[in-house]
Each structure stands twice: as C-alpha cells, then as structure tokens.
Symmetry: C2
Subunit: 235 residues, 2 copies
C-alpha cells in the first residue's frame, strides 16, 4: 500500500516513488491512477471506480499471491481512511505486505493554512457510508467539548450535502461562532483554493469532497491571514 501524498511529485516520498516504479501491477481508484501517471512505465495498471475498495483489495492479494509485486495506491496516507485495513484483513500470513506512509491531508492542509495543528487534534470523517451517523456525531461532540482542533475528512458529497451543516451545529454547542475555520480544496494540486473563515461564517456551498476542513480550538487565532493554534510558548 503506497501513499501518494496530497498531490504532485514534490510531496511524494522516494520510498513511495520506488514502490510504484518497481511494481509489476499498480492498482487504484481511477483518480489516484491519474496522480501516479508520471511514475507509470510498463507496469500493468488496474484502475476501478469509487466504492470498489473490497474488489481492489481482493485483486491486489490475488496478484501478489501469484508472485507479482503489487502497488496499491491511495492519495495521502494509505493508513488514514485508506486501503491499508481491507487489504491487511484479507492478506494471508505468508504474504509480505508493507504500508508506505505519505503526507496525509490533515497536515498538508494545515501547512497551507498556517499552523492550526500545533496542539492536540481529532481527525473525523463525515462519511456515513461505513460508520453510523450517531457515532460520528458523538465523536464530533466529544472532540468539540474537550477543545480538540478538529480535522474533517470527506466533509461533503452529493449524497450527504447537509452533514457538514449538522456537524457545524454540534461544534457550535461548545465553541464560539467566531472560532477560526480553514478550508483547502484540492490541496497541493492544480486549482488549490484556500479560505480562512470562521465556524459561523463557513459557507457549506464552498465545500466539496475534495476539500479538507480544519476547525480551530478555543485558542486558535488568525494572524496575517494564517490560522495559528499556539503551542503555548511565551512569545
């Protein structure tokens, strides 16, 4: 399992690059295959649509058991809401499997926004395809109450276009509407767009499935357009 990082060649580790270059078979969701184009030479490429994760996992294990070197690619880090768990769940003990980490969306997005993650933070996916919505709401509530900075993955899609509004209202029970909030769409890719706003003012229409959202904690501030959560040093 290979993490491509957030975007282009600049943020891909040498380890990940070598794993893709040295593979016989490269497997991934079609969007990720496009991101990996620069490293594809004569590998066999097996691309598939979204929501085909278990199929991809099975094919990867079959190909590997047949003796092929297989690279299953994901954007960001393959261990964060990625393919690492479905593959490790079905891989037999004799199969050598390595997880090659990448820069995940949380920290890539944070870097674009400034320094919002320099204190304790919680990472929550708003996708309820595989997780009960009640569990997600419970985690949002707990993270907001305990003053974690909150990073939202999969904040909005066509099928769940109001989840983000509900999530905002849960956080607003514990945090002021003036709390800084940052959005980065297409982080580290062509068309990257960032916005530093507030929890109250965020326009959910600005958010889509390629956006990562970071909600500050009670100490987060905005300075020169950058979102900063102080570590606590006396400056």
């Amino acid at each position: 399992m290979v993490g491509l990082g957030p975007g282009g060649e600049e943020t891909l580790t040498p380890q990940a690059r070598d794993a893709i270059s040295g593979a016989d078979v490269v497997i991934g969701y079609s969007t990720y295959i496009k991101l990996a184009k620069p490293y594809l030479t004569n590998q066999t490429v097996l691309s598939s649509g979204m929501k085909k994760e278990t199929d991809r996992a099975r094919v990867a294990v079959e190909e590997a058991l047949a003796g092929k070197r297989v690279a299953v690619i994901s954007s960001g880090d393959p261990g964060v809401y990625g393919m690492a768990s479905p593959i490790l769940e079905i891989a037999p003990p004799e199969l050598e499997v390595d997880v090659i980490p990448g820069v995940t969306a949380a920290t890539a997005t944070a870097a674009v926004l400034g320094a919002p993650l320099t204190h304790d933070f919680a990472v929550i996916s708003l996708s309820d395809l595989l997780t009960p919505w009640e569990t997600i709401l419970r985690r949002l509530d707990a993270a907001a109450a305990a003053d974690f900075v909150i990073v939202l993955y999969n904040p909005r899609s066509h099928g769940r276009d109001q989840h983000l509004e509900v999530a905002r209202n849960v956080v607003l029970k514990h945090r002021a509407k003036e709390t800084p909030l940052g959005l980065v769409k297409d982080c580290c890719r062509a068309g990257e767009a960032k916005q530093v706003t507030t929890l109250g003012d965020m326009n959910i229409e600005d958010v889509d499935m390629t956006t990562t959202v970071i909600i500050g904690n009670s100490q987060t501030k905005v300075l020169n357009g950058r979102m900063i959560t102080p570590r606590g040093y006396v400056i």
Copy 2:
C-alpha cells in the same frame, strides 16, 4: 519550516529536500540537524538544544528579515507540535513563510504497526510543559469515551515518567484492558523497534521520548501480528 518526515532520505519529500539544499541558513534542534546531515553542504547551520524553541524562532525570523533563505527543520511534520506556530506568531506580515509538510509520527508509526488509523483518531501529547495536565486528562477521557483511536506523542520522559501510567488508567475507564496497543520506538530510524501488545499489558518501561504509542478503539484487532482498525467494509 521544513518537515523531515520520520527518519531517513526514503521518507523525505523532494520539496523538503530542496528547501534544505537551497537554504542559506539551516536552523534546528541538534537531533534534527543530525538527521539533515546528508543534505547539508555549505549552508550556515545553527543548532540548539531542546526547549530553545522560542530562541530558534527569533533567530530564524531575524535571519530571514536580513535577506537570508532560512530552513527551520523539524522531524515529522513541522505543523504537528512543531515550530510552525511559534514562528508564524512572530513573523511580520511582509515575511514570506512556507510550511513544508512531512510524514508525521502518527502515520509513520501506524504504517509500521499495520493499519490502526483507518478510522477516526485523536492525537494527544502527554507533555505538560506547555499544557495543563488537567487539559490533557480531559482530552484523553473524551477521546476514550467517544471510541477514537488514540495516538500519544511525547508519551514519557525523565521528568514525567508516570504520565503514561495515569493516561492508561484514564483510557481503561472506557476501554477493555485487552484493547490492542502498539508502540514504535525510533520509527523509520536505525534501531527501530515495534511492539504490538494490549492496553493492560503495556510495560511503560518500554516507552521513552522517542516512542509513539497508538491505542486501538473498540473495533481494533490484531491479525498476523498487525494492528488493524477495520474501516467497516464487509470483507
């Protein structure tokens, strides 16, 4: 601010490497300067001891305002408990500052252990140098109650050798002692050592300040020696 990633050249992004190679001045804690040795040629190197973060931030800003290209280096990602916030807090608006993300210890450690972070997780530092211990305990309690996977940074040092024991007991209020727990010491560096154990069986003597600890959620399991938090696909 440049993130070195967890260890060697294999996990350093090209962007980070170029920022160090192209700098006039490289500033960092002495341990990080050692990690950056392979990329140091004729840059001026300013290294300092731990707990000198505000000094390093001031020197970095002064050098940059004097027209130098400055790289302030941190291991992992500079935005996660790193130098990004103290520098952005004092940098004047006219100064160009970029945060260059890196693979952070949470995901590098997860990759070594298997796939423990494929569901919602909370990142908490057990260092109370800059954060009230009560705040840390409150966050641990909230994260454990809401069934987050929990990643502990700075789990133990000479000055606070019992914090981890207290933290374990807080989590045990909400989670079974059989909950899988993974430790990686010196992740991605020479002498890397991993251990997959349980919340109840962890020996705190095995943990030091170069260790990252990951506590599974209620669904985390161990399979073929690997720690896996299922994403929820029907396998």
